[in-house]
């Protein structure tokens, strides 16, 4: 067991900054990450040996972060799948991960959970077809693999990622047949005032929009995917206009032939560590859903447990950097490495930056928040839980049978019980139930349980020889 001062789980912008800040303040820090390099999704590293034709701002910022990490004293474990986090009886935490070189066990009095968000997709008929991928998946293909998702691509969902993905596909020589945005033009106009608080990002967004307009790609505001068609793979996409409540308007869908559909309806905080350790949570639609209760430096209600970044409060990359640094500084302060005055001085700039960034983050979160009308419009025969093929009708039937809370729903239907452990369907399934039981608070959230990821048993055991296991001599007969 490796003893450290601080464990950081997740090497995106928040986790890496937390690790760097705590390490610089004198703590012995171990950083654990599932991917093969730091950067998270926004600053995702190209795989080793791949050089992008035109590295963008995100690629440059990610490379700078990775350079700082290499130059630091932070101990890093990449390709490590954390499957268990426990609180220890004497206080502090134990983390277990499966790595390529065998099991990894860490213990520390403090732990920063920076596990990022997962993408929400509002289900539609055909969304399980191969060829339908997440919007965030498209960014991974483009940024980390330099691959276009398909030959004829429909980009759909909501939020700024839509234009980013569509523009990147066009700039890389691909074809986008339509951009389908749940938000209306009026919603974007209302958001512009707040988006203008970060002029460089707004200009970047306008650049994407100009590129899309310049290529005469149809941009359908106030529309959503009605269905995906295909036998064994995606062949066509039906797109329909939305009513003001977010459900489908009574108008016939338009059909686009496409071999790839990149769709994402916002992000949900992957707050699995706080849930697993039973930290008090609260539901906030504009922060992505169920989030842990944290103080200004990311401390949860469990002593020593911090939660930062999009896995805690959905605010995006720039706030995640500052929130991560604050948690790192706070962990060092709590460990006695700085007095109150020094801590206040060191953290002042990050607190101020978070306040400045708040209006932009809130405006983007509003554009990406779950729209209850969109969930109401899901047809009874549409699959909600991909792993277990649980349909909307089965969820409603479970309510009729007495399921009043999402964990009961899980027991009744197996919704959320498959290998993704409810990451893909949880937010939407809870919203469906909430419409029946009155509120998201009443519907609750999944109870966190180990293993955090499906891990082959052989990966947990590591390599050993049965002959080496001490077995006491059998009792005499």
């Amino acid at each position: 067991m490796r003893q450290a001062d601080l464990i950081v789980l997740g090497a995106g912008p928040a986790g890496t900054e937390a690790a760097l800040a705590a390490s610089a303040a004198g703590l012995d820090v171990v950083l654990v990450e599932e991917a093969q390099a730091a950067g998270g999704q926004v600053w995702r590293a190209p795989y080793p040996g791949l050089a992008l034709p035109k590295p963008d701002e995100d690629a440059t910022a990610g490379a700078a972060l990775r350079d700082r990490l290499v130059a630091s004293r932070v101990e890093t474990h990449f390709n490590a799948r954390a499957w268990s986090v426990n609180t220890l009886p004497e206080g502090g935490f134990r983390l277990d991960a499966a790595t390529e070189s065998g099991p990894l066990s860490l213990a520390a009095p403090r732990l920063v959970a920076a596990t990022g968000a997962v993408e929400r997709v509002i289900p539609f008929p055909g969304w399980t077809l191969p060829g339908v991928v997440g919007l965030a998946a498209a960014t991974v293909m483009l940024k980390a693999q330099a691959v276009l998702p398909g030959q004829r691509v429909v980009v759909a969902g909501c939020g700024p990622l839509l234009a980013a993905v569509a523009a990147k596909i066009l700039a890389s020589g691909g074809e986008v047949v339509a951009v389908v945005d749940r938000a209306s033009r009026a919603e974007w106009l209302a958001a512009t005032r707040h988006l203008a608080t970060r002029p460089r990002l707004l200009a970047r967004g306008l650049g994407w929009a100009l590129r899309i307009a310049g290529r005469r790609v149809p941009v359908l505001f106030g529309h959503a995917i009605h269905a995906a068609e295909g036998q064994d793979v995606l062949e066509a996409v039906q797109v329909a206009p939305l009513a003001t409540d977010g459900s489908f308007a009574a108008a016939p869908p338009r059909r686009f032939m496409a071999d790839a559909l990149c769709v994402g309806d916002g992000l949900v905080p992957g707050a699995e560590i706080p849930r697993l350790l039973r930290a008090p949570m609260r539901f906030d639609r504009t922060l992505g859903g169920w989030v842990p209760q944290v103080d200004a430096e990311g401390r949860t209600s469990i002593p020593g447990l911090f939660a930062v970044g999009d896995g805690a409060l959905l605010r995006g990359q720039a706030p995640a950097v500052h929130a991560g640094r604050l948690a790192g500084l706070a962990a060092a302060h709590d460990a006695g490495r700085s007095d109150a005055a020094a801590f206040a001085q060191a953290s002042a700039a990050d607190h101020a930056a978070l306040a400045t960034l708040a209006p932009f983050a809130a405006a983007v979160s509003r554009l990406m928040a779950l729209r209850p009308g969109a969930v109401r419009a899901i047809a009874p025969t549409t699959v909600v839980c991909r792993c277990e093929d649980v349909t909307r009708g089965m969820i409603d039937a479970a309510f009729e049978d007495g399921a009043r809370e999402v964990n009961q729903l899980k027991h009744f239907t197996r919704c959320g019980m498959g290998p993704c452990q409810g990451r893909s369907c949880g937010d939407v399934a809870a919203e469906i139930l909430a419409a029946r039981v009155g509120s998201r608070e009443a519907a609750g959230c999944w109870t966190g349980r180990p293993p955090l990821r499906p891990v082959p048993l052989a990966d947990l055991l590591g390599e050993f020889d049965y002959a080496d296991i001490p077995i006491p001599a059998p009792a005499p007969l």
Binding site: E34, A35, Q36, Q41, Y47, P48, G49, L50, A51, L52, P53, K54, N79, V118, E119, T128, L129, P130, G131, V132, V133, G134, A136, A137, V140, M141, L142, A144, Q145, A146, V147, L148, P149, G150, Q151, S172, G173, G174, D232, V233, L234, D259, A260, G270, V383, R386, C387, E388, D389, G418, P419, C420, R423, S424, R453, P454, P456, A458
Partner: protein
């Protein structure tokens, strides 16, 4: 969806591996899910309950849809880098 490698990027040398016994080539280090998508292999398995075709969906290790057997061990194709000589097989239908 036949994915396409963006021209102009510098990539590591292509190496050979097999999928369901069929020879494939892709740059070393590229995610297996991407390499298969570029080869036109999209459907990787069938869902255990309804038996509908599934392929890589989230590309970041969350959704578990791209499960394949890599040298006999269940792995997510989106997280496994291509290496020379990998033996990749679809999971048997009966496997959860």
């Amino acid at each position: 969806m036949t994915s396409r490698r963006i021209p102009g990027a510098t990539r590591p040398a292509e190496v050979a591996f097999t999928y369901a016994g069929t020879p494939q080539r892709a740059p070393t280090g590229e995610a297996l899910a991407t390499a298969l998508a570029c080869a036109g292999v999209l459907g990787l398995r069938r869902s255990p309950a309804a038996g509908t075709p599934r392929g890589a969906f989230c590309f970041m290790g969350s959704c578990q849809e791209c499960l394949v057997l890599v040298d006999g061990v269940p792995r997510q194709a989106c997280l496994v880098p291509v290496r020379p000589g990998l033996d990749v097989q679809p999971v048997p239908d009966a496997m959860p």
